[in-house]
């Protein structure tokens, strides 16, 4: 048995892609299946350099359809398997993830958002929120963690494996090109030293004993003949999903006791939003901050009272209203006016958000 990839805790200064590779190693991921796409590539590059030292596998597939379906195979076989992709690759990934959603397969996908639609840019965006939360011909029975820092990338990559294997819904870590490529300080650690117990991975096929003699065969399917058969299957999954929500939903808020304007942002933009809110407070402007960490399930119960208390809501995102739509849907019926500072495919600075807040308060 190879040594642990990380002993105890270590401070490091590295790119987000490197952080993800370390986190997957630390989480005990058994294999990565992947297809090159920027800005995800270096997750594979670091993984392929480190994995053999720790007896972990890698397969470069022919496309993201195959990367998704081989990942499905890996988890069916009872292994902690993952893949990473972005943009057009995330589009192709959705076919396998819809199968994972139907069959309750604990796949883990790291998404490093790039500009869209189409090939667009290899740089950055927050335009894959809709796709990652609701891609596929289903109900979006998935878990999506939106990270804002390298520490988040490390923590939530580990957590994604546990959430996936505990609740058996496909789980996504939604990062972006900025987080992938920039370097920042991070503490990487062996999960055990923080009391994190990795969920057991149980195989769904290749079970012990002879099928039909020692036990029933595992006959796994995603196709049904009758409306009622499908409905029963989905009803059970939706019930499980709803029961899971209070256990997995995560968010962060500050300065929300007396705020006149609530700034809502996710991912890397939430850091600019937090900085903007701090500056605005210093200048005597009553701004508050809310960040959904799980975009799916969305923390609507946490947001509702905060939104009701505020006089205005400003949604800030590097997309044209993908987060804003989730916010509006969660707040349906509430009268607090919602506006957006929407910059598809563009980075957003604290100064821009301060300007947008001031303008919203004037209007």
């Amino acid at each position: 048995m190879a040594a642990k990839p990380i002993e105890g805790e270590q401070r490091a200064f590295m790119t987000g892609n490197e952080v993800v590779a370390w986190a997957a190693l630390a989480a005990g991921a058994d294999i990565m299946y992947g297809y090159p796409i920027t800005p995800q590539n270096e997750i594979m590059h670091y993984w392929t350099r480190m994995a053999p030292r720790y007896d972990r596998g890698f397969l470069q597939t022919e496309d993201e359809i195959s990367a998704g379906f081989t990942t499905v195979g890996g988890v069916l076989a009872g292994k902690r398997a993952f893949t990473a992709t972005a943009g057009p690759g995330n589009v192709l990934m959705q076919e396998a993830m819809s199968m994972a959603e139907m069959m309750r397969l604990p796949t883990v996908v790291v998404v490093t958002q790039r500009g869209g639609p189409s090939t667009a840019t290899v740089i950055y965006s927050q335009q894959e929120l809709n796709l990652t939360c609701f891609g596929g011909n289903g109900e979006g029975l998935r878990i999506v963690y939106s990270t804002s820092s390298h520490q988040d990338l490390f923590n939530y990559t580990i957590k994604a494996f546990n959430t996936a294997w505990k609740y058996r819904f496909p789980t996504f870590v939604l990062g972006d090109g900025y987080q992938s490529k920039m370097r920042e300080p991070v503490t990487i650690y062996d999960p055990a030293t923080r009391g994190i117990v990795m969920e057991e991975c149980r195989p769904m096929v290749g079970l012990p004993g002879i099928a039909g003699i020692d036990r029933e065969p595992a006959h796994l399917r995603n196709t049904y003949n009758l409306e009622d058969e499908l409905y029963d299957r989905l009803t059970a999954s939706i019930k499980d999903y709803q029961a899971m929500i209070p256990e997995v939903v995560e968010w962060e808020a500050c300065a929300v006791d007396d705020d006149e304007i609530l700034v809502i942002a996710h991912g890397v933009v939430s850091r600019a939003a937090r900085a903007a809110v701090d500056s605005l407070r210093e200048a005597g402007i009553k701004a508050g901050y809310f960040r959904p960490i799980t975009l799916r399930p969305f923390p609507e119960e946490a947001l509702q009272p905060l939104a009701a208390r505020a006089q205005r809501i400003l949604v800030v995102e590097s997309a044209h209203g993908q987060l804003e739509r989730q916010v509006r849907a969660s707040l349906y019926g509430l009268e607090t006016p919602v506006s957006g500072y929407l910059r598809p495919g563009m980075g957003i600075t604290p100064e821009e958000i301060i300007g947008a807040v001031q303008q919203t308060l004037r209007s």
């Binding site: 290749g206 099928a211 039909g212 995603n222």
Partner: protein, 264 residues
């Protein structure tokens, strides 16, 4: 040609789900019988995983006393490759139609062949898309009428039928096993499938078997016409036999290690 008296079911068949769900006269049941006999002969029931595609092959999702995974159209091979990479002790069988293998899943077939993945692929060639009601497939014969070629397949507009085993044989490295059998010769077909399973078990490389099959429902043929179509028209275009056997040198090269082998 025909199976006169019904011999016993293969041991690996699941009696509780018989009679099976295919149409009367369908070739799928015959091919799955050959597969069942091959699994019995090799004694590998305990470690075989059966994967079926979307297409009429999906009707076999509860066919065997084997752990079974029914996947998406054309995606069965990647799922099984994903399993095999992490559980090399298992024997994985990818079972699909000609549409799944040669149209929507063609990139997976070619790539698995090039990688020499340790998987046994069985493709049911019934010259059209059975499950969706008889449209043209890559294997539809020149002039053959289907729902999307109602005046007969025009090869000028839609190309000539694909020769799947020939394609795999051309790209797979040494160690591959490639054959084409037919429901018209069940003994030979079973033999091919058994060799294909053995090729995987012995870690030599990919095994690819195309089986010429019947779809009387969409062909709209009676028994006599069905057999004539398989034995005359299909056989004339799709020659049966072994195209690649392991150990044999390809293009004069000596055999080399199999990249898909688990120990690598």
């Amino acid at each position: 040609m025909a199976l006169a008296a019904q011999p016993q079911m293969p041991r690996v068949w699941r009696a509780e789900t018989k009679p099976h769900k295919f149409c009367p006269g369908c070739g799928h049941g015959i091919i799955l019988k050959a597969l069942g006999e091959a699994i019995d002969a090799l004694g590998i029931q305990e470690r075989t995983i059966f994967g079926c595609d979307i297409g009429c092959s999906l009707l076999s999702w509860d066919f065997f006393n084997l752990d079974t995974i029914q996947t998406h159209h054309g995606r069965t091979t990647p799922v099984l490759v994903g399993i095999k990479r992490v559980r090399p002790e298992l024997v994985v069988v990818s079972y699909m139609g000609d549409g799944g293998a040669y149209a929507i899943g063609a990139q997976h077939l070619v790539s698995s062949a090039v990688r020499n993945d340790l998987v046994t692929i069985i493709v049911v060639n019934n010259t059209q898309y059975g499950m969706t009601g008889g449209q043209m497939a890559p294997t539809t014969l020149p002039g053959q009428k289907t729902e999307t070629t109602p005046y007969g397949r025009d090869v000028k507009l839609t190309g000539r039928p694909i020769l799947g085993p020939e394609l795999v044989a051309a790209v797979a490295p040494p160690g591959a096993y490639v054959a084409r059998g037919s429901i018209a010769n069940v003994v030979q077909l079973k033999n091919f499938i058994q060799k294909g399973l053995l090729n995987q078990i012995e870690g030599r490389g990919i095994a690819f078997i195309e089986a010429l099959s019947a779809c009387p429902t969409n062909w709209r043929t009676n028994a006599a016409e069905t057999w004539r179509f398989i034995e005359k028209e299909m056989a004339a275009y799709f020659p049966t036999g072994e195209l690649r056997t392991p150990g044999e040198a390809k293009n004069g090269q000596a055999g080399e290690g199999t990249p898909g082998a688990p120990e690598h």
